[in-house]
């Protein structure tokens, strides 16, 4: 990273940028010149058919995958050229993640699951659990602090996952089909809580979804088709 602190927004308000990304898995191209910008505190929905490259784009923006060509910037500094160790540290410090399935550690209680990123960042257990417990009321999970993931419904488990993603107060939350396994009502509740919590904290969200009703919680959407981004400005 450059000397500029990622605690502050970049000029023009663009927090994440991808330019002309290319990436293939074997002989199969996943990204073919994908470019996208995400503004500070914006909720961006990334839509597209199955296999269009939308999850691959998210993983490149989050520094999980490295594109074969192109550039990724986080807060004005190159992310894709960072070595794995500092990139991993940056992810832990500034990014949060919510996926569709299997995110909670089954041996841990709900509050321990939410506290986990804080513990990995070196916070003491008591302080981490105190911070984690603050999320239970916000996510409508009161009384479930000591439950293990097997004792939670799908919607409850996903709200715990949201809490775990937001507990470090990340700059960016990456959500890949966060409601893909939930029914309509539970999905709505998770999206309401996720977007309200993120907006309250000024967190930017990159939301990959194929569901229009989920994308409707975003400020803007882009469409990934055949590994490239169709970015339509909506007036």
């Amino acid at each position: 990273m450059t000397a500029r602190s990622p605690e502050h927004g970049s000029p023009g308000g663009e927090l994440l940028q991808a330019h002309d990304l290319h990436l293939s898995f074997g002989a199969t191209p996943a990204l073919r010149g994908a470019s996208v910008s995400v503004r500070q505190a914006e909720i961006l929905a990334v839509m597209g058919p199955s296999g269009s490259g939308k999850s691959t784009l998210l993983h490149c923006l989050a520094g999980i995958l490295t594109p074969a060509a192109g550039e990724v910037f986080f807060d004005g500094a190159r992310l894709d050229t960072l070595p794995e160790a500092p990139r991993s540290a940056l992810r832990r410090q500034y990014f949060g993640f919510v996926f569709q399935f299997g995110q909670l550690v089954p041996e841990l209680t709900a509050e321990e699951n939410i506290a986990l990123p804080l513990l990995l960042n070196g916070l003491r257990r008591a302080a981490a659990l105190t911070q984690a417990r603050e999320w239970f009321a916000r996510l409508d999970l009161e009384g479930l602090e000591r439950r293990r993931s097997g004792e939670l419904s799908g919607g409850e488990a996903q709200r715990v996952a949201v809490g775990r993603a937001l507990v470090t107060r990340p700059r960016v939350l990456f959500a890949d089909e966060p409601t893909g396994a939930l029914d309509s009502l539970t999905s709505e509740s998770v999206m309401d809580l996720l977007t309200t919590a993120a907006r309250g904290a000024g967190t930017t969200i990159v939301l990959v979804t194929h569901e229009a009703r989920v994308a409707a919680y975003a400020d803007r959407e882009v469409l990934v088709r055949d590994g490239a981004v169709t970015d339509r400005v909506i007036v």
């Binding site: 009703r213 919680y217 339509r232």
Partner: protein, 174 residues
């Protein structure tokens, strides 16, 4: 509402007699509701009055007295404008969305561009309805949900149509 524009679109494809227009309309757009001949000629009369088509007089000795209709440059501009413009998102748009996609393909325009614009317009409306749900009571939320589910159904149809555009183009232009 779509009949005048649909006939205009069919005429952009090629100049036609009234009975040819009725046949093509019934084949592609009628779907069990054939267009009455009276409505075909009344519509063509209004399109001619508005300068969007011209009725060519029949050539002497060319058989029965039939007028052949030709689209004017004003008519082409009118149909181009209509096909490029996404419709207001609301429930039950089937005939409008369908007519725009098929006519765009028939006249060699980009149906994909139209569908992308329409998708963006639908999603914008869905955002407004989602915000309404967040800020209103349960009764308004129920109404918003009705709109959201219908718009979502349209979007799913648009996604599938986009995936099938190449085959559709072959089907309507063959």
């Amino acid at each position: 509402m779509t009949v005048p524009k649909t006939l205009l679109g069919l005429l952009e494809r090629e100049p036609s007699y009234g009975y040819e227009l009725k046949r093509d309309y019934d084949t592609f757009f009628g779907r069990g509701k054939p267009l009455p001949f009276g409505q075909v000629y009344a519509t063509l009369g209004r399109l001619a009055r508005d300068g969007l088509v011209e009725a060519r007089e029949p050539e002497p000795g060319s058989g029965p007295e039939r007028k052949r209709y030709v689209i004017t440059p004003t008519g082409v501009a009118e149909i181009a404008c209509w096909l490029a413009e996404p419709v207001e998102p609301e429930p039950h748009l089937k005939s409008l969305l369908f007519a725009k996609v098929v006519l765009a393909l028939m006249t060699g325009r980009s149906a994909e561009t139209y569908l992308d614009e329409q998708r963006a317009k639908h999603l914008q409306r869905m955002r407004e309805l989602t915000e309404l749900k967040r800020t209103s009571g349960l009764v308004d939320a129920l109404l918003a949900d009705y709109g959201l589910f219908h718009l979502e159904a349209d979007l799913r149809w648009m996604d599938l149509t986009t995936a099938r555009l190449r085959s559709l183009e072959e089907a309507v232009r063959s």
